[in-house]
Symmetry: C2
Subunit: 138 residues, 2 copies
């Protein structure tokens, strides 16, 4: 139940939060922008402001419930935190996103950071390209 997750995150259980979390969980898309979530709320006749959507998503991020990603498109997208870190393959035409995980790459990253004496906090690997469906179209 959403309520539990919110409570455990140390946040009060309020209608907007439950609603937003539920949308993230039920919507087919794994990655949604604040705007996407807002539109979905509107289509469900919910009286929730865009500012609240941002606020809630930011809180969820802080609580570790979701991750914020900045693909090169101007806006941030949020995805439910599945525990496992992973990287993304993004279609530059239709926006489709495929997640993947590659241990080899992870390992190399650690090594490279170590060589430069960096202490890794996070990383982001995004491969942009055309998905199978979009390669045909022009």
């Amino acid at each position: 139940m959403e309520n539990e997750q919110i409570k455990q995150a140390g946040l009060k259980v309020t209608a907007p939060r439950v609603k937003i979390l539920s949308i993230l969980e039920r919507s087919g898309k794994r990655h949604m922008s604040a705007e996407d979530v807002y539109k979905e709320l509107l289509s469900q006749d919910e009286e929730i402001g865009l500012a609240t959507v941002y606020r809630v998503l930011t809180q969820f991020e802080g609580a570790g419930l979701v991750c914020r990603r900045h693909f090169e498109s101007g806006q941030s997208v949020f995805e439910l935190n599945s525990g496992e870190h992973h990287d993304h393959l993004v279609c530059i035409k239709c926006g489709a996103v495929v997640e993947f995980l590659d241990p080899t790459i992870e390992t190399r990253q650690k090594r490279i950071a170590a060589e430069h004496h960096f202490k890794i906090e996070d990383h982001s690997l995004v491969v942009y390209g055309l998905c199978p469906e979009c390669q045909g179209k022009r």
Copy 2:
């Protein structure tokens, strides 16, 4: 000479373009935001608007002279295109940027894209962490 590069990019040789390209080449930093370039112009008493800086940088990008990167900090940074693709290690504290190139990672990316039938156009790998200098500070 900057003039040649601009001409070869199919752009007319104008004062703002020459000036901006020259700043990118001479400034110590490899990565500059539009704002950085603008400030540099101001400090040289150049009458060039911020809009022009954006326009010119975008044209340079289209012409392949520079690359635009979106690190997770709100604004885009531009760097001269050195021909070689490379990835970045960014300090989340001081903003320092170290470039690196890792063939193994590149190879894995290609393979992963192929597995998902994606046609790679571009990719971006950014590792965020603390640089050696910032690890000591708290």
